[in-house]
Symmetry: D2
């Protein structure tokens, strides 16, 4: 590390952490089938072990997002097991993710279901999730509501807004003082005509209606084609309503590809908006950075380590921008100069600097190579391959 610029980047990297999801180590697929991976994790113990290995290699993933239905199938009574795993691995439980899309009861919706009994059941699960969060001292309860309808006229868009508000207010009431409730939005899938929380405007309205501890969660894959996501980030920051991110990339729909694999410049622009908040507007901390990807073909561990390194490098690029100077060029409408300053940071190859930072922290300079050399992949493949049987289609 030699220059003032390098110091700025190191300082930024020191503050950069990103949460990885327990389901990122498990087998996933599309509706046309799953290609099982020999090394995929299927138990919560395996998921914690994999997460610990990613953290050992990268140093920036201290928390693991948990999915209530899959990781704590017995609800609050599974908390002790998680705490044991936390002690054993040093990985802290991250955001708590309820599941309101899988059970047969939710066929026509969960918190938007016309049947009040189903809505009550959904609320009970949400409150369980809040209680799990309290018990695990996890900050975020992260809600993705998959509710919607497939055909015009088949459901009342309007009344479902009212029902949803009721449940979210009740969930908010259950929050402990240190908890935040995140409201995620998504335009479509699994519903294909209307999704009850389809965009950031709806999510923010629900968040504000629910109460002061609610915020909006931005999943980078959950937008219409061509949406300017960094602008939504700027608006949410200006409204003090940005709670966190689910990072992933996409070309077509909610493809859940590796961050920056399709459009790396967009990730850079999003990070830049967050750094504007910090540098120029006195922002205290970043919103929660979380990964939510579905590596159907790439090796799970490999993809996770690659993801974390890419996120870090794109963040380092954004940290290179001289925001004060940029603001001056923007003020004078010096378009080309401003653009060149901005993307000059993107063109800079930060990989050497990030490697330097890793070494300075006692980490491997190249976590992906270190993973390959560690023998960890061979170990878990041997342990798990029998459990990970042949692919299966969800189609027929």
């Amino acid at each position: 590390m030699s220059s003032a610029t390098d110091e700025k980047v190191f300082a930024a990297l020191n503050e950069f952490f990103i949460e990885i999801p327990s389901w990122g180590f498990a087998n996933t697929g599309t509706r046309f089938g799953k290609f099982q991976q020999a090394a995929a994790a299927s138990t919560i113990e395996e998921k914690f072990a994999d997460a610990a290995e990613v953290h050992r290699l990268t140093g920036v993933t201290p928390t693991l997002a948990l999915h209530v239905l899959w990781d704590l199938p017995n609800g609050v009574s599974d908390v002790a097991n998680i705490q044991k795993l936390e002690s054993a691995t040093g990985i802290r439980p991250g955001s708590i993710n309820p599941n309101l899309f899988q059970d047969a009861e939710y066929k026509f919706g969960s918190i938007c279901n016309p049947d009040p009994k189903v809505r009550e059941q959904a609320l009970a699960h949400l409150i369980d999730s809040v209680e799990i969060g309290k018990a695990l001292r996890s900050a975020e309860v992260s809600l993705w509501i998959a509710d919607g309808s497939n055909y015009p006229g088949s459901q009342s868009i309007r009344r479902r807004i009212d029902w949803m508000k009721e449940v979210l207010r009740a969930t908010h009431k259950a929050l402990g003082p240190d908890q935040i409730m995140l409201v995620e939005y998504k335009p479509f899938e699994p519903a294909f005509y209307h999704t009850d929380i389809a965009d950031w405007g709806m999510a923010m309205e629900l968040s504000r209606d629910a109460g002061p501890q609610a915020r909006v969660l931005v999943d980078t894959g959950h937008h219409y084609q061509s949406t300017n996501i960094e602008q939504i980030v700027a608006w949410l920051l200006s409204c003090n309503q940005l709670g966190g991110f689910h990072f992933n990339d996409r070309k077509y729909a909610d493809d859940d590809l590796t961050i920056g694999s399709i459009d790396p410049y967009q990730v850079f622009r999003i990070f830049s908006e967050l750094l504007v908040e910090k540098t120029l507007r006195g922002g205290k901390s970043f919103p929660a950075f979380m990964i939510d990807q579905s590596h159907n073909l790439k090796g799970k561990m490999e993809a996770m380590v690659q993801t974390v390194c890419t996120a870090q490098e794109l963040f380092a690029k954004a940290a290179l921008i001289d925001q004060e100077k940029l603001a001056g060029l923007q003020d004078s409408c010096s378009l080309v100069e401003a653009e060149e300053l901005f993307r000059g940071a993107f063109w800079t190859d930060v990989r050497p600097l990030v490697r330097e930072w890793r070494v300075a922290r006692g980490l491997s300079a190249d976590p992906l190579a270190a993973l390959r050399e560690s023998g960890y992949m061979e170990k878990i493949t041997a342990e798990r391959k029998e459990k990970n049987a042949k692919g299966q289609s969800s189609y027929a």
Copy 2:
């Protein structure tokens, strides 16, 4: 008229009015050129005359939207002229539309321009527009802000939010007690990287920030591909923030085609949401219905009459829906029954009924045929053809 259903449709039609725009009679084009029409209007007198003819034929277009820069180039001092035309034609001035996109000063933005002098100039024009509205006793001041940027990094998305809020608050302060300020949104064009008011969430935030007499304007062509517009309508209604519509249709971008010419079922669904508000939730009145289209190839008068008739017919179809019964089927999640009830109304051919309604009001059964037989087209073609010279490109 024979049945209870017919009476319901007639009652709905009695409440249906739609505003037509002065610029809808003038020559328009794309950036690649304008094809001049011999019968196009170029003076405000001609625009009032054409509007009066459309109202004579259809009976449902009593007001004419005015564009300040083009129709009142001298601002408030042109009010007397407009009043004279109102007296002469019986057409009332409708929404007042400021122009903040055409003057050279607005190259880098109007109310979001980094230069405070340009923002002041823009505010002055907005306040002039409010004063014109007061003088003409027009209810709506309708703001479309074309501001944005073309390249990442070239402008501060974030600070422009602050500047915009300041100007809109100041504009709201100038409103008279009977005025409403409409805030329109649009994702792109003429700006191609970021548009300062890009979606309904941003427009609603600005509207609420500005004050209680502000509302959101929905232009049906101003959405990302595949956006569920009727859902946005339902949300705006539930937030009491829906102020009005600019109707038009599109297949690709902001194509400004005739209403219902590409996706008539969508218009029907939007009207249905408005009728839900009225029928089931005690809504008192509809938001402002306005046309905003660009007939580059169709004859201006022909297209306008066709537009009004199509809007009326799609509204009549929506009025056929038995909303109470539909709500019951939605409640029981009888998906196919609900869908069939809903679109059964769409399949019904309402043209005979609308013709009957027209005749009952002393209008021509077929306004488009009546236009062709009236001799009006020949008259204005003869009067105007010399003024309407050869096409010109805006490209080179």
Copy 3:
């Protein structure tokens, strides 16, 4: 039936048949889970029974598309079983659909896989499918190749074109004289960066390269947002390369919704292009009409009957267009008159006429009501409900 127009529509309906897919009666879902239906079919016997009931009710679905992997798991040796079901139910085997996406070997592609052994395996399955088609005297072997890649640089787009051509040529060679090989295209899903056959241009190039008995299959849900599908139909007709359709509707991606449920006007426009070929250009027969939908929430039988009726009604609307007169208006560039003539047919309520046609053929006037009254649903629900257990996610 009273008028010349009615006769024209009756004549058109007499020629209208549509193939339904065996998988349309089975449980389906999204990657987030399947909601099992009590009455869903899981055996080929049940699928033939359901298809026979749909044909009994509608009279226009004499054939059933078969999926080799799911319906003939033992390949050619299952042919006798299918023939037995054909005799028992009167339903003829329709298009034969190979499956090259589900087996673990196809993780990195089937006919585009860099491994020649996998490509050979895929070719063997294709040739098996051709043999099944011969044995069953089915006309179409219908290929959907799901191959693609998820990340830029991870596969050679270019070499995969060569490999694909080789396999398709070899498959074509195996065709009997009465067989047609259909090549389907799809822009994305399950692959999310590149899909080897992504659009009609690629499919047509492959079809022509394969040989004279190959044609292109258009799945209406397999296009980019806003694509003009009827124009692609017109081009394929003009190139004599249109082989058939997979009908379904969509709002966002490949949503596989019921035909005409989102954009009925588009279906009407597609049918009109086919009728132009027949009426004005001496076309002898229609391409194969097939349904390919995924009814995750609607009842399977209900949705299938609704689909067939809707397809028939939209076809009847298109048959109402006076194509000769329309051509004249198009020639004189009478835009509004041409448009009004064209969509006047769409506005016409053809339901009474189609009901009349059904009654004249000894069918129920309202097949959906007839299904509900038939007791068939109750019967199969009782028989199958135990097999159709709880929902399952393909996600975790």
Copy 4:
């Protein structure tokens, strides 16, 4: 230059040339208005002068695309003037671009117009353009056909295919032995329902039908959202039908922004496909690289120099890819390794190397800075500012 890699990049840069368009120096805008630039060129003399300055600064823009209607308004008789400018500036005439969209006759189409007289007029203009190309010894006649329709039913998509083929065949017949006819495609704008040449499949069919000297032109902004353009490039290469590129970038529609300003990774991927052809498949030369952008806000000269430098840098990045090694990783389906190798080239900062190459050729290391220091901008501003008057809207 020190390493084998550097030599490879230098060799690639030695072969990289890009054509700039005469209209890129002239005032442009959107349908909402033009913001006139003081330094914009309005005569062909000014355009040649500006082009010569860009070539002096960058060394890679030896040719200037010409627009027949704007640059040779008197057709062939203007050839002598162009030749004089060629002698004076050293800039060679590049592609010849007919204009079939601006004249009033083309309101309902040019080569697809139902009126045979209009089609003849269009053909005459095309043949004039071919003759101009011969006289100027320019290789490419580059056709963009803006024809289309705005409303379903208003034109016959099918017959227009036939008419178009006739005219293009006749144009091809007029070509000299060294001429190529490029056929461009575009999905929409200025037509908003159907565009007669909407995608690469249609363009390739027309090109093949016209004759052996026809090829397809890819404009990077002329695709549906999310289209994989590099795949289309791979297909056109595999069909020996790729003739050239119009480079520009876009976020929403045909935004005509600076190359790589929105999605630089995509440009890199396109260049990589071209280098695959050269490196692995014996390709002899690149297709024509041309710029087609519309700098409405950026300074014309600044934007052009920035464009050329960016294109060069993205090309240098692509040249860094070790295509042989990549092919091996693709063959073994080593997804993550292949991806990392591929985008490792993209992450590399090639700016120092490109600067080195420029200095080695006697050029300025930083052409944009050199432009600013040259005094050229001040000179042309002083000369031209009076001609470049106030903005004007094409809307009203």
